[in-house]
Amino acid sequence: MDNIIQVRELTKFYGNNPAVDHISFDIKEGEIFGFLGPNGAGKTTTIRILAGLSQPSFGFALVNGHDVLKEPLKVKKTIGFVPETSNLYGELTSFKNLNYHAELYGVPKRERRTRSLNLLKEFNLIEHQEKPFQTLSRGFKRRLTIATALVHDPKILFLDEPTTGLDVMSARDLRKLIKNLKKKGVTIFLTTHYIPEAESLCDRIAVIVKGKIRVMDTPENIKAQVKDTEILEIALDQVTEEIKNQLSSVKGFEALVISDNQIRIHTKRIDQIILPVIEILKQGAQIKTINTVTPTLEDAFVKITGLDSDIMKINKPEKASV
């Protein structure tokens, strides 16, 4: 398969701070590629540059064979972009929003209507076609925004945090829609800070933290990095400073994650560490439960980035969608 997107050493400074710092990657035609990272990692900045909305400070990017800096209009013609907030025109109906975008993207007059209606059907919005965008529910707004990005039949679709702010059902529906788009041959580049979403949707994931790509691979391969590792999960009545200090001196841990009254220890030698750990815990706390867990992508993420996976759950304050 060919690389439909090629990015080399891409860098974007805001003032003196790099939002994106010398990143390079390729995306293959037809795959779902995910940028996984916490708030402020540089996900939005990257896809805005690739969509020709924003200019890089350094490096270059080819999208569909066109340089984003030199031929932005050619790039824009073959991509669809769904921003983080659904920002269609509130006064226009669903149908008119679609039709207007078809006009702007140069869809021939005779095809505009059928394409708009087909998308409304595909996204289960046909009974809402006469409703102004601003009266739709959040999930429907999201769907219509995605439908609008597809009206000119783009080869690549960028989705910035497609399910953030949606309820569980709407998010699930949306993931189904995204998988269907892949079946139709659309290449998808999405960003998320929701690890299970990245795992269930993406063919490949790049973990991005502070503007740098930390790891890039298939979810399976990323998980394989923690294959021989096991996780010892212990619930306590309290976690004292004393316990924290003593635990960090035990040898044989790959990672130690403490949240509330729970301790998760990543290790390859559970047989060797279990006794010393229990000795330490017994002194300052009461042990409630002990479990061993098979590592998930989330645990691989913790190991690779050294970040607590909770950092990914810190959601932004909900932005008002217009």
Binding site: L73, K77, N87, L88, Y89, E91, L104, Y105
Partner: protein
């Protein structure tokens, strides 16, 4: 050609989304009618003389009313981003915005003309000159609004700025008092403002030959305003957007 049709689509969308709302239209009609009445009660015999000027004022106010805020507003709500994402260049976007506001302004002014001209028993002497001045004035005033819109950051700044430009024009551009009878140095100011040429041209084409500036010069100067305002707006628009993104 493609560019023009896309500009037209932008204009059409703006008209249906923002402009063709009853409050905006009635406000656009109210102001010139109020001016006409106020003048009529004070000086009934002179009303014929000021009708072309009132039409010029109508054009000024209705063309700038939304143009001055539409870009600032769309940036604010994130809708401008949709235009920047689409395969459009900056020129097409500005052209579309100008066209939308001009069409709206012309519609309001045509309504006013259809009321005032027959009501005052006037006949248009030079019809095609009238139409040309009309359209050129509409474009120029919309661009004046657009220039304000691309230059400011907040909607309220745009409103303040547009009033700062518009209100002096009411008195300086020959709508109620002929420029030629103003004391020095006011006429110098008058000749720097586009409404002067629009009012002069409209008077000339409606009333006959009692105007100060030759018609071709009015047309020529308005065309000059139009192109300079467009280039300046485009320059600022590009620069601003590149800074902000």
């Amino acid at each position: 050609m493609k560019e023009l049709s896309k500009a037209y689509f932008i204009a059409k969308k703006d008209l249906s989304a923002y402009y063709l709302k009853p409050p905006l239209i009635s406000w656009g009609l109210m102001l010139p009618i109020a001016f006409a009445l106020a003048f009529y009660f004070r000086h009934p015999s002179g009303i014929k003389e000021v009708v072309p000027g009132i039409i010029g004022l109508t054009l000024l106010f209705s063309c700038t009313s939304m143009a001055a805020i539409v870009i600032t507003f769309e940036k604010r709500i994130g809708a401008m981003e949709r235009l920047l994402l689409a395969p459009l260049n900056f020129r097409t976007i500005l052209l579309g915005k100008t066209l939308g506001s001009t069409l709206f302004g012309l519609m309001v002014a045509v309504l006013i003309s259809l009321i005032l001209i027959p009501l005052m028993g006037l006949h248009i002497k030079h019809f095609w000159a009238f139409v040309s001045i009309y359209i050129l004035s509409g474009l120029t005033f919309s661009l004046l609004g657009i220039l304000i819109s691309v230059g400011v950051k907040e909607v309220f700044e745009a409103m303040t700025m547009s009033n700062f430009f518009r209100f002096p024009m009411i008195f300086l551009c020959g709508v109620f008092f002929p420029v030629s009878e103003m004391p020095f140095p006011l006429p110098v100011l008058s000749y720097l403002l586009p409404l002067t040429y629009s009012v002069d041209g409209l008077k000339h084409s409606v009333l006959g030959d009692n105007a100060t500036i030759p018609l071709y010069l009015d047309v020529f100067i308005l065309v000059g305003f139009m192109f300079s305002l467009f280039s300046l707006s485009l320059f600022i628009f590009k620069k601003r957007i590149r800074q902000e993104l």
